[in-house]
Symmetry: D2
């Protein structure tokens, strides 16, 4: 029988910045029997998850759900809206922005890649300047990664929108929210995004296997003339049939069960409470990093990520050797540095189905791992995090003394 290699006692700490720890409620929902995707029960589920995803994207236009990884939703955004040879402006925020850029190259687009140092988000001023020069509107799309999973830097999407507007440029605006959606506040309609890309395995707390496009009317209109070949990713047929709750080809039924459950959990907690929780855990993590005397990769506090924190290793110390020691001794997976950051950073995921004590366990694993690996650091990181968590929890305690007659829920 299928068996995860779980000879170690206790639960694994999956503290990579996604896939995240899938809650039992979601796993159990997925573990329902598969049903007829053309039958009446299915339509109820189909409509519910499409409606729920609109609330999560904060959009009233269209949401498309693919049985695919997030990478597929990147491709869907490009092939539905663009034609061979189109010029696309992308911002180099890190590894994933670079992968999206390479995909655009492979699909036959021309990409202008605004260089970045992997320690800052997309630069709105730089984008504005470049668009302002493009008097003939050669640039067909501006593509930005909201939360760069490889660096822990969150780009300021509303500012990028303003930059495009100030330049008076008609380019489509496409944003990757694979690691931010349902963890960091995001507003597809309000921020005038044309295509938002996302995936299931981060803030949505699902296993990987579903991905998403939120599509503005402007993007949908563009898809009618876009000439990149497409079939699997084609929005038109998908959106037409989705109105009935069904899909043009067989959907990933059981993962949709999980999505239904995950949406219920998010709405039970409240999206704003979810965002606040992520911010609080991120701040606690940063306080731990500073207490250790280590450096956060992200340079601009306005761009700190709520979902992960990338920590720089001191020179002469290999982040991957450290990560192996943590995995072996403390049964915790941390994120690795990717490509040019390989060995130089490790990433702590603090997103998804997560709470104060699991964060404390996570930070304890990092702090003890630093000791075992002989990485120079000061003690006291967990203590600093605890001080902040207790202090911020205390406000609620005081408030609740006056408000609540009972702890029984």
């Amino acid at each position: 029988m299928f068996l995860l290699n779980s000879h170690k006692s206790g639960r694994h700490f999956l503290q990579i910045p996604g896939p995240t720890n899938v809650p039992d409620r979601v796993l159990r929902a997925i573990d329902n029997v598969t049903i007829d995707h053309r039958g009446p029960e299915f339509a109820v589920i189909g409509k519910a998850v499409l409606a729920g995803m609109k609330k999560v994207f904060k959009t009233e236009s269209h949401v498309v759900i693919y049985p695919a990884s997030g990478t597929g939703a990147w491709e869907a955004a490009l092939v539905n809206t663009l034609s061979p040879g189109d010029l696309v402006l992308m911002a180099e925020t890190g590894h994933f922005a670079t992968l999206w850029k390479k995909m655009a190259d492979k699909l036959g687009l021309k990409v202008e890649f605004l260089p970045g140092d992997w320690r800052h988000g997309a630069n709105p001023a730089q984008i504005e300047a470049r668009l302002a020069c493009d008097k003939e509107h050669q640039i067909k799309a501006v593509c930005v990664v909201h939360n760069e999973t490889s660096t822990g830097v969150t780009s300021r999407i509303a500012d990028v929108r303003r930059a495009i507007d100030k330049a008076g440029h008609p380019a489509l605006f496409m944003v990757d929210t694979i690691s931010s959606l349902a963890s960091i506040d995001y507003r597809h309609d309000e921020w005038g995004v044309d295509v938002t890309v996302s995936g299931s395995q981060k803030g949505l707390m699902l296993p990987p296997g579903l991905s998403f496009n939120a599509v503005s009317e402007k993007a949908l209109a563009a898809s009618k003339t876009a000439r990149l070949p497409r079939s699997y990713w084609d929005w038109q047929e998908m959106i037409a049939i989705n109105s009935t709750g069904y899909f043009p080809y067989t959907p990933a039924t059981n993962l949709l069960y999980g999505l239904h459950e995950a949406l219920e959990m998010l709405f039970e907690e409240g999206l704003d409470a979810v965002f606040m929780r992520h911010q609080r855990h991120a701040e606690a993590t940063r306080r731990a990093v500073r207490a250790w005397g280590m450096e956060i990769l992200c340079k601009n506090p306005d761009e700190y990520s709520s979902v992960l924190t990338a920590v720089m290793m001191p020179n002469g110390h290999d982040a991957d050797a450290f990560r192996k020691i943590v995995l072996k001794n403390f049964n915790m997976s941390l994120g690795q540095g990717l490509t040019k950051l390989s060995g130089k950073i490790f990433r702590i995921g603090h997103l998804g189905d997560f709470n104060d004590l699991t964060l404390c366990g996570t930070l304890a694993g990092v702090e003890m791992g630093l000791s075992l690996a002989g990485v120079p650091h000061r003690k006291g990181g967990v203590q600093a995090a605890m001080d902040y968590l207790a202090e911020s929890a205390a406000k609620e305690v005081t408030a609740s003394i006056h408000a609540e007659p009972s702890l029984i829920t």
Copy 2:
């Protein structure tokens, strides 16, 4: 909490020709915690499922696993091997062959569609004749659906291979086994197929969400010069990284757990035993249909499908009204007639995780449904099936009397 609408007592009979009834062992495997897809445990699983799928395809070349529906694997086959404007020869065996043809159109290929009556498989002689005329080898690929899910007709792939060989034509040979793999004998290497397309939700007994390409060296070579744009579906990077047990982008981890378990189940039973079981259940089903005095859609007994039987409704009776009565009264989903067969046939799926008694229940639901719907028929279909099942089981009983000391396994 997520809840299937299961106010009806007992288990639903999901007798559409896929998705099929997912066994508990597979659902429970999927219900394991998601792990780091870059960690050491994952590689063990990755290598195991890739090796297992080679055994199922009967190939020693390459297998590619996509987080996608079967439709995605159709697209992958085409975009990896062909260039814009390439001519493709396809055989019209039914609804799904037609959908694959439409996809090729959308992707910018030129398709010659050999017409069919939806009651026969692909015609090897017709294919041979067409290829023989193509002296300049304009035709780049021949595409055939092995088991046409919309009609219950299984094309003779080995004969098509011989037809291509007799014509001495170098076209790539692509076969869709979405509804046949792991249910009907199939031999990628022996039959000289270049790309075999398949999906998870039929004979592999998984929920939908995974799909596959088996890729010959010839096809892989073709992919190096093929010019249709591709990124998500690209074989090169996938195959390169798969050798380590990992994937270039996030795989559908939990569905891969399910695949691991399903492969174990198939190998425990033995692929040949699995094929024989499907044949036996199909024969029992056809005996029931004949006893009812009804007509099987498939005209050629050499092309009867082992995985489903499409049954023609008498004139003046609507197959969909009948199917609704069966669903409402007997909690069983049957397959509908698609496009030009809409309302004219219903399809009985008898594949996947299935046994004699579940087949008897299925056929009883059809027979009682025919009564309730007022469809003219003779009684005795279930009886005819039981007679055959008991008779064919009896041979084993006799054999086992001499062979086995005990029933305890």
Copy 3:
């Protein structure tokens, strides 16, 4: 990893008269994390299941839930109400009545066992006559098994109550409903029962491990003077603490989750609908048995059991050899004949989470098994059952044509 020996394709047919097929909803409920049985969440569950069980027993007095098999609830009924040497009147309806009698012997009670032929229920006239003779009220309790699982005979409890009343006898009335509760109509209060005994693994659709006492005020009063030693089974402390939703010792938390879910399912379907479903399946089964030309063990049609049918084997044929052939060839477990019926009967369970098609599969397995085992019988049993099922379903079809606009629920 734990692995049921499931090398056979398809689902096992568990058609013994309990444990019954546990629905996925119940298994998944049990598969929730264990919580603090002293915490606030637990009390909500505790109160809900106690209230739900009162509805199932149709009582407004007390229900006690034990982490124990049904055998434990038998013991609880006796030790809470009786003193060493007390005289108890029991009716020999079959194997389980005999086991209860032996238990009473072991506990130091004196039992008068009204003899029976294992083909009839308890005889109200005989009970009345015996009680009428007992002028000095030596008899402290009358104990009857409602549905004798070993024979498929259901005693007429309301008639037994009337018999006790006519005799004007003050004995406690105790009834075992282990295999009838939630399958056959039962009314603890209306029928004046003092202690009703039940278990989880039959009509309640749970795995074994929970058992129950419904307790009248009269029985509770008796427990205050009863002198059989008891601690684990003691009602007083249990009932006192249950009012808060908690239990005096650690309850079987996860099975209580399952009970919560099972109660929801029963109430969704409606208890009366549940009883009607069992009656209809029992009648279909009896028609099959008669069509085979075989004999039903139960002699009195007023006492036919709705939950199982015991079928007599022709002389010279061994029921257990037949059952082994069915298990081996058709992956179905049937009930064996117990003690004096060993080898002479087999029992078909048709209770719990069950539906028409599963019944047809079950009966097909019996009919084919009779063929394989060379047991003399006529064909046509499944056909007879189908005719009845279709005919009785047809009434609903006709009715629903006028009532329902849509099949979508």
Copy 4:
């Protein structure tokens, strides 16, 4: 559908000293379909769990498994071996010893209860002295709780055995290991215990609902003359039938699946490694308590419990108010003080399926809770625990550098 009230993000920390956190592998095993407890598959499971439990108890005599709570196994130990009015010597180690004593009273035994202060284990010298006085061997049994769950004190069973031997007394020796078995080293045979009592929901990592007796030949012989009435708990029939892998009445099938899985996990890790893990976590916990400047209830370091630590609250502070604050703010359940310790202590469970990071999270929850509740303490408890955990893990790291070529398992 059944739904735990899980509106809070992340996993609950169930840090009461049992029920413990049930591992997913065990929950999934329980979530298999129920099978025929008289069929051939069942016997395989039955034999395996009985054999496995013998290894856990370290006995070669008999193990009995009850579908019941641990309280039931207490009763079984007494009623199988003793007669009404028999004198039993029990040691007052805390709340659970007192409950066992009360049970003996209720069952009609005479109990001499050696007084204790709830801060020490059973006193071997006191037991020896009392037995030495009992020249006529009125005392039929000596009963000791191995790990007193209410206090976190572990009695020295080998020393008690020596005390009995020194007194030359023939009394039966009965030990409750409900909260120690499979967490703290225990040796039924070597220590000459006659009846060991245990339960499923602590070190065995199962939900509650199973309990156990390990039975020496001497105890089994005693049961032949013991006169307390018994039926459900009776060893004779149970042991007789168990040799075939079956049970005299319906066992709790699905919990036995879980037991099978839990035993596999324990043997995979190795019992000695399991004991060492518990000791290490207990020592880390005590270092945290001392760093906080708080007092451990257990006075004798030789009697520190490896499975829980009871911590004394400073005067004027209510442990239950503190526990509520922890539950509300940090989603963690801690154990309460029972009866005479009510409000005065809280108990930290560190047993079962547990690891270093979960312990750090647990201790962080306690330390932050102390702050929120305004309980006087010093910071640094988590730090002290981390220092010890890292230091003791470091030894392994050093060792493994020389021993292991790879981290891949």
